[in-house]
Symmetry: C2
Subunit: 99 residues, 2 copies
């Protein structure tokens, strides 16, 4: 018999998303993408005070969390919000915060 799981999948899911948002650089990227359709990694490198390799890691984390997606437009990569999951994020956080 399994022990009753007190923590819901929904809570795990929000925590996962929140964790990905839990860094200023990543928040910057997310907010930018929520206001314009897309951006290129190079645009970010020029403006953000971190090394390219570090930015790359942050973008990977956002991608792994399902918050953004990258599309190759050689030799650049175009990043956008992951629209599907973005809706989910909105719903989850709205439900959690505004009830």
């Amino acid at each position: 018999m399994e022990p009753a799981e007190v923590i819901t999948e929904e809570q795990k899911s929000i925590a996962r998303f929140a964790k990905a948002m839990g860094h200023p650089i990543r928040m910057y990227v997310l907010e930018l993408l929520s206001k314009q359709i897309c951006c290129y990694s190079g645009d970010l490198t020029e403006v953000l005070p971190i090394a390219k390799s570090t930015l790359s890691q942050h973008l990977k984390e956002l991608k792994d969390a399902g918050l953004i997606q990258g599309e190759i437009e050689a030799p650049k990569i175009k990043y956008c919000l992951n629209q599907e999951n973005w809706k989910l994020v909105q719903d989850l956080f709205n439900g959690f915060l505004n009830t």
Copy 2:
């Protein structure tokens, strides 16, 4: 001359809150407190599959982030949401997610 700061205080602030929400245990506590006025650490220990000392650390993180507050009711401690900051969190996340 300072380099222009690209990351806003607001983004840092959201990231700080998000980071605190970025763990299933902490999400559980927050959601519980958003649905009932308060709870005691002991209630949580009974139900959550972690050691008391670990829970204590998670509660401390939530407190340090300004999300909850504890009030001594010897020998227990009563935890509630930090109402003031909770409003701020709602506003920040609503602004970020729903615009």
